[in-house]
């Protein structure tokens, strides 16, 4: 009985720690973005940004958005728009290790903003998107 309750507590702890790790990493980045002048991060703005397309006329992917590769439902698997490689769901509730490593988040936001928007994203845009994604 004691063993059972301990196992239960352990598994509960593991589940909680995944969510906590994502929250910690995102919070760390949000405070950096605040220092850069961004404020009032909004999940709704993040969702709009996620689905907003940027034209890249004359290329193989003429309309690009975050959803081009990750789909508009990040609980689903996506496909890399160029190579077709499967991308595991970005939602931390589905793929536990998502949004847990600030270094990785910074790297991919930079890379994917360059491909999608043709520029780096602003602190406000990044903060909104992370606020949108972290609770999915």
């Amino acid at each position: 009985m004691i063993l059972l309750s301990r196992m239960l507590m352990l598994s509960l702890g593991l589940t909680l720690s995944c969510a906590t790790l994502a929250a910690t990493a995102v919070d760390e980045l949000l405070s950096t973005y605040r220092q850069q002048g961004a404020a009032n991060f909004s999940a709704a703005a993040g969702k709009r940004f996620w689905n907003q397309t940027t034209p890249h006329a004359g290329t193989a992917n003429p309309e690009r958005s975050c959803a081009s590769c990750h789909t508009s439902d990040v609980r689903q698997e996506g496909n890399h728009a160029v190579t077709g490689k499967t991308i595991k769901p970005l939602a931390p509730s589905v793929t536990g290790r998502r949004l847990t490593n600030p270094k990785k988040i910074r790297k991919w936001l930079k890379r994917n903003c360059l491909w999608t928007r043709g520029r780096e994203c602003t602190a406000q845009e990044k903060g909104d998107v992370l606020t949108y994604l972290k609770d999915l």
Partner: protein
């Protein structure tokens, strides 16, 4: 005296470990993991022995224009991957496939695409385009894993080829 002896033993053991295959194996394993993490997020992890060292160097030196994408890496990661990929390239692998790839290239040729290697093209010339480029599950000859399930582990054996939507390939 005893202390000096202990230090000496410790130092010798450390040096022995650093020079041992166990240490270099660890270094190779972590570089291999780094390669998979950094390069195989967007595409399959191409076995390093499919390109000569000079090709890997050229690819890594132009990551800001990587087949239409900016795939730049931080300097430390780049350095590790340069060492790893060049040390495990077609020039050094010594397998039959690696030797065949090297033979099919002129000394001054530095291909950037595995799918454009003469030996790879030759081995795929009988396969109709509708199985590859016009096949939405394959898209391109560069998507090796679509038909060769063991491609990332370097297994391209013809007996295990399965083309999505068409089934086994026999010629």
């Amino acid at each position: 005296m005893t202390r000096n002896y202990l230090y000496g033993t410790f130092l010798a053991t450390s040096l022995w470990w650093l020079a041992s295959p166990a240490f270099s194996a660890t270094a190779t394993t972590s570089a291999a993991t780094l390669y998979k993490d950094e390069c195989a997020s967007c595409h399959m992890a191409y076995p390093s022995q499919l390109l000569p060292a000079r090709s890997w160097l050229k690819i890594l030196n132009s990551l800001d224009h990587h087949f239409g994408d900016n795939a730049s890496l931080d300097p430390a990661t780049l350095k590790t991957l340069k060492t790893y990929l060049q040390a495990n390239s077609a020039d050094t692998a010594g397998t039959r496939r690696a030797r065949r790839i090297m033979r099919s290239l002129a000394a001054d040729e530095t291909p950037l695409r595995i799918s454009a290697l003469p030996s790879i093209r030759r081995q795929h010339h009988e396969i109709p385009l509708r199985y590859i480029t016009a096949n939405p599950k394959v898209k391109s000859l560069s998507n090796c894993v679509a038909c060769h399930a063991g491609a990332e582990q370097g297994r391209f054996n013809e007996d295990n080829v399965k083309i999505p939507g068409y089934g086994r390939w026999d010629d």
